[in-house]
C-alpha cells in the first residue's frame, strides 16, 4: 500500500477519489450552513445560492430566542450542560472504579460479572424504553434532572475500555504504593488514576458525545418546557416553524457546534473512542 513510485497515475486517482468522497459527505453540511443565512424565499431557488447573496444573520438571533414559538435555547443549553456534565463525571468515576476492580482484583464470579456487564450492550434504550420509563416513573423522576441523568449513567463500553487500560498497567507499580502503606482506594486515586488520563479522556469524550446527542430518552422522560435539552428544543422548534427552513437550519447549525468543538479539541480521544468500537451512531 506504500509504493507510489511506480505508477504516476496512482496519486491522481487517490486524490480524485478522496475529493469525490469528501464532496458528497460535506455537501449536506455546507447546504445546512448556507441555507441558515438565506431568506425563506431563496431556499429552493435555482441555481442554488451556495453563498447567499444577502446573508440574514438575524435568522440566528430569531431562532435562538423567539417569544412567538416560545423557544429559549439559552435555557435548553443550560439544561444540556447540567445533564451532560453530571453524566460524564459520574460515568468516568463509576467506569474507572469498576474497570480497575475487574482488572486488578481476583474474586469469585469476576468473569461472570464482566460478561453480565457486556451483555447490557444488547439492551439499548430503545429495547427497554417501556420498563425504563415505568421505573423512572416509580422513582418519581419523570420531569426532573435525576430522571435525565441516572438512568443513562452506567455504560458497559466505558467499563470495557477502562478494564483494558488498567490491565496494561504494571502490578509492580501498585504493589510498591501498597508497600508504602497506601490503602486500596488511595492506591487507585493517587497512583492508578493519574496514570490513566488517556483512558479517562477517551471515556469522558465518549460519554459527553452520547449524552449531549441523546434524543429518545429525554423525549420520553421530559414533558415540561423548562427541562428541555437542546435536542428536544430543536425538535419542538422544527415542529413549530415547519416551513421556516432558514431558521430551522440556523438552529440545526448551532446545535451541531458543541460536538464539532469537542471533536476539534479532543480529536485524538474522539477518534480513539470510535476506533475502539464505541460506535453508537
Amino acid at each position: 500500500m506504500i509504493a507510489l513510485r511506480r505508477d504516476p497515475a496512482r496519486p491522481l486517482f487517490l486524490y480524485s477519489a478522496l475529493t469525490v468522497a469528501a464532496f458528497f459527505l460535506l455537501l449536506p453540511v455546507f447546504w445546512m450552513i448556507s441555507t441558515s443565512f438565506k431568506k425563506i424565499g431563496a431556499v429552493f431557488s435555482l441555481p442554488v445560492q451556495w453563498i447567499p447573496t444577502d446573508p440574514q444573520f438575524e435568522n440566528y438571533l430569531h431562532a435562538w430566542s423567539n417569544p412567538l414559538t416560545q423557544s429559549d435555547f439559552t435555557r435548553y443549553t443550560v439544561n444540556s450542560v447540567i445533564v451532560t456534565a453530571s453524566v460524564t463525571v459520574l460515568n468516568v468515576l463509576l467506569t474507572s472504579l469498576a474497570g480497575y476492580g475487574l482488572a486488578k482484583y481476583r474474586f469469585t464470579g469476576r468473569s461472570i460479572l464482566f460478561v453480565l456487564i457486556l451483555v447490557t450492550l444488547m439492551l439499548p434504550l430503545e429495547v427497554i424504553m417501556v420498563p425504563l420509563y415505568l421505573t423512572t416513573k416509580d422513582l418519581g423522576w419523570l420531569d426532573s434532572y435525576q430522571g435525565l441523568i441516572f438512568p443513562v449513567v452506567a455504560d458497559a463500553f466505558g467499563v470495557f475500555l477502562m478494564r483494558q487500560w488498567f490491565r496494561s498497567l504494571p502490578d509492580e507499580l501498585l504493589e510498591a504504593a501498597r508497600m508504602d502503606g497506601a490503602g486500596h482506594l488511595r492506591t487507585f486515586i493517587q497512583i492508578a488514576l493519574p496514570l490513566s488520563l488517556p483512558a479517562i479522556l477517551t471515556v469522558a469524550v465518549f460519554a459527553f458525545r452520547e449524552t449531549w446527542d441523546e434524543f429518545t430518552w429525554p423525549y420520553l422522560a421530559i414533558s415540561t418546557e423548562a427541562l428541555r435539552t437542546v435536542p428536544l428544543g430543536v425538535r419542538t422548534f422544527q415542529q413549530a416553524e415547519l416551513t421556516n427552513f432558514p431558521e430551522i437550519m440556523a438552529i440545526a447549525t448551532l446545535a451541531s457546534i458543541p460536538l464539532a468543538v469537542l471533536y476539534f479539541v479532543f480529536q485524538k480521544y474522539f477518534v480513539r473512542a470510535i476506533a475502539s468500537s464505541g460506535v453508537k451512531g
Binding site: 453540511v29 482484583y105 424504553m129 417501556v130 420498563p131 425504563l132 415505568l134 434524543f215 422544527q238 440545526a252
Partner: protein, 275 residues
C-alpha cells in the same frame, strides 16, 4: 469497586429487562391497576397483527439495506484514508464531518435534502433522472432513509476500519511485495483476511444501531407514508405511549431483542466458521 456501577446496571438495565419480560405476558395498561397474566396471548396476537408484521419487514429492509453498503463503502473510504499521501490528514477530518452532526439534526437536514426540490433530486437531475418525492413515495422512502443513515455511518465506521488496517504489520506487505504480489493480491490475501475481526465488529454494531433506530423514522416521516417507515422501535413506542398497550409493546420489544441477539450470534458463527 464494581459494586457502585453494578447497582446502576441492576436498576436501569437488568431490572427493566426482567420487568419487560414479565409485562409481555400481561395485559398491562396505565389505566388499569389490575393486570392479568395472559400467557402467550400478546405474542400470538403479534403474529396476527398486520401492523407488526409490516414493521418487521420495514426494519429488516432498512437494516439490511443500510448495513451492506456501510460495510463496503466504509472499508473503501478507510483504504483511501490510510494512504500516506500529503494532505491525507485534512481528508480524514473533512470526511468525518457527517459523524459529528447531532442525531436530531440528521432527520431535520435530510427532510430538506430529500424534498422534491431538494439537493438529492437536483443531483440526480444532472444525470437525467426524474425528480422523486422521496418522503411521500412508498417505494422510495426506505432508500431515502438508507441514504441519510449511511451518510452518517460511513464516516464513523471508516474510522473503525482505519484502526484495523493500521494494526496490520507493515512487514507483511513488504514481504508480499518482494514476492511480487500486486496491490490487488495484497489486498485480497493480507488486508481482507486480517480485517475479518474488524469487519465482524462493523457488521454487528451497524446492525444493532440501525435495528434500534428510533429518531430518524420518528422525526423524518413519523412512520409514514402509509406505515412504510414504521420501524420496530417506532411500533413499540406507539403501542406503549400512544395506544397505552404496555404489555403488547413489551412483547414486541422482546421480539426486537431476540432478533438482535440471533443476528449477532449468527454473525459471530459465520465469521468464525469461514476461517
Amino acid at each position: 469497586m464494581v459494586v457502585p456501577i453494578l447497582l446502576f446496571f441492576i436498576a436501569f438495565k437488568f431490572q427493566p429487562i426482567i420487568r419487560e419480560i414479565l409485562l409481555s405476558f400481561t395485559n398491562a395498561n396505565p389505566f388499569n391497576s389490575k393486570r392479568d397474566f395472559i400467557g402467550l396471548d400478546n405474542y400470538i396476537q403479534l403474529t396476527r397483527d398486520p401492523q407488526f408484521i409490516n414493521s418487521v419487514g420495514v426494519t429488516a429492509y432498512y437494516v439490511v439495506g443500510s448495513v451492506i453498503p456501510v460495510v463496503v463503502a466504509s472499508l473503501a473510504l478507510a483504504l483511501l484514508l490510510n494512504e500516506r499521501i500529503p494532505g491525507v490528514r485534512l481528508y480524514r477530518v473533512l470526511t468525518f464531518f457527517p459523524a459529528i452532526v447531532p442525531i436530531i439534526v440528521v432527520p431535520i437536514l435530510w427532510q430538506f435534502l430529500l424534498h422534491p426540490y431538494g439537493l438529492v433530486n437536483l443531483g440526480f437531475g444532472i444525470f437525467g433522472f426524474p425528480p422523486i418525492d422521496w418522503l411521500r413515495d412508498k417505494s422510495a422512502v426506505i432508500p431515502g432513509f438508507i441514504l441519510a443513515t449511511d451518510w452518517r455511518l460511513v464516516p464513523l465506521f471508516s474510522i473503525v476500519y482505519l484502526a484495523g488496517i493500521q494494526s496490520i504489520p507493515e512487514s507483511l506487505y513488504e514481504a508480499a511485495k518482494i514476492d511480487g504480489a500486486t496491490i490487488l493480491q495484497r489486498f485480497r490475501w493480507i488486508t481482507l483476511p486480517l480485517l475479518r475481526p474488524t469487519m465482524l465488529v462493523v457488521v454487528i454494531i451497524a446492525t444493532i444501531f440501525t435495528a434500534k433506530s428510533f429518531t430518524l423514522a420518528y422525526v423524518l416521516t413519523g412512520g409514514g407514508p402509509d406505515n412504510a417507515t414504521t420501524t420496530l422501535p417506532l411500533f413499540i413506542f406507539r403501542s406503549a405511549f400512544q395506544y397505552f398497550r404496555v404489555g403488547y409493546a413489551s412483547a414486541a420489544a422482546m421480539v426486537l431483542l431476540a432478533a438482535m441477539i440471533i443476528i449477532t450470534l449468527a454473525n459471530l458463527r459465520l465469521f468464525r466458521s469461514e476461517d
